[in-house]
Structures are given as C-alpha cells and as structure tokens.
Amino acid sequence: MAHLELDDHGNILVAALTGELTLANATEVRTELERLFGRKGVSDVVLDLGAVSFMDSSGLGTLVAASTKARSMGRRLLLYRPTPEAVHTMETAQLTGFFPILDDEEDLLALLPD
C-alpha cells in the first residue's frame, strides 16, 4: 500500500482499487474506505475504478454505504473512470446519478482549487 502524502491545499484523496469489488471483499473495501475518510483533513475520496474488472450489487452496496456515511459527515465519495461494465452494472442497478462520476483526468483536475 502506497504511502499517502496529502498536499497543502489538497484535502482530496485518490485511492485506486484493482481487482474486483464483490461480495467476496465488500466488507474489506468498506472498512478501508471508512479508514480513508477518517484521515485528518480529508474531505473527498476519489475512488479510481479504472482497474476494477468486475463489480456486483454487493460491491455497489458497499460504495453506497460508504458514500452515505461520508455525506453525513459533509464529505464526498467520487468515482473515477469506472469501466463500461461497471457503468452498465450501475445502470441496471438504477444507481446512475447517485455517485459523482469523474470520467477522465480533466474531470479529476477540475476538483482542485485554483
């Protein structure tokens, strides 16, 4: 796990997930996301899903739970470049619009204060 350096103005954290996000590891991912939100100074967590090859409704449920908890603390969970399959899963699960989605690096950099 890479060491984290939050930069001065940045209270945005980018976390990349690789592999799968399913029932098999949903609890593990949720714990990890809550740990990230618990970091001092973190306002937004950007979850990079670019390398997530498979996601099921249990995986999605974990993201919903983490996002709801973050919102209740005035923070945000954003999803970064989900694969077409992941987008499709979210659509069939009627979850489009629930998460802020960043499609590319431009969207990501737009989050930064000037």
């Binding site: 799968e20 399913t22 029932l23 098999a24 498979f54 099921d56 409704s57 249990s58 999605l60 449920g61 974990t62 919903v64 739970a65 709801t68 399959e85 499709h88 899963t89 069939t92 699960a93 009627q94 979850l95 629930f98």
Partner: protein, 161 residues
Amino acid sequence: MHSYEFTTTAQRETYRPFVRGVAATMAAYLASPTLVHPLELVTAEACANVVRHAYPEGQTGPLRVRLRVTPRVGVEISVTDWGRGCAACPLPPGGLAGPELPDVPEGATSGRGLRIIACLCDAVTGETGPDGNTLHLQLAIPEEQWRTSNLTITETSLSRR
C-alpha cells in the same frame, strides 16, 4: 443442447472462483469476451444471494448451477440452494420482469440483485420444493454473437517485401 453442472459450498470464499468457472464455460461459446459480462453478472447475483440469504447465519450448504447451452439460440442458468427458500421474495406467478419490481430506494445498500437479474434476463422463474430452491434465468443470444469456429486458416503466399 449442451449441459453442464457446477457445485460447491456456498461461501464468500468460493463465490468468485465458482462464478468465474461458470462464466468461462459460457465464454467458450461466444465470439467476444465483452458479451460475457451480463451472463457473468446475472450468475454472480443469483449465487451471491445463495451465499448471503439461503442458509442460516454462520452455516453453509450446497450451491449448484446447471447450465444449458443451446448453440445459436441462448442459455439457461439454473441456480439452486437447499436453504430456507425464497419465501421472503416470492416471484410473481409469471416470473420476474423488471417493471414489476418495486424501485430500490436511492440510498439502499442492498436489494439490487434481483433487479439486475430481471433487467438482463429474458425470463426468470423460480421454484421451491424438496429438490431445492431454484432460480431459472433464461437469456437469448443473437446468432452473430456465437463463436462460429475456433479455427480459421488464412493463406498468404510468401514473398520478399
């Protein structure tokens, strides 16, 4: 028709290797790997339900998938458990269809599995009895999406560039 049967013990640890096996058998029939995703997803959702809901907390039991492939037509995926039965989720008599399912509340952290299944399958029926509780998923697959042959010989003559 080609028939395959897969069984394991329903556990979080066996769920993904098991579903990947079923998906790979289906993938062997298809022209492109991208077509496999919806087939894998519906299988995964039905198997995840067995792992999470079929057997009493802390216990486990068998999970079986029967796969029937009718080349150039479609597949039927039947997922069976021998647990408490789907009394909690009786399927409508005519089977499961997307629009008949209640909407999932926005912030709900669960309850999307059957919706995904209903949305991606052409027909879903269920059955409960001494032979287990089975969800039958049927998916038609357009003819051009089947792998026609896993061999192509292309000939070229050899000459200096």
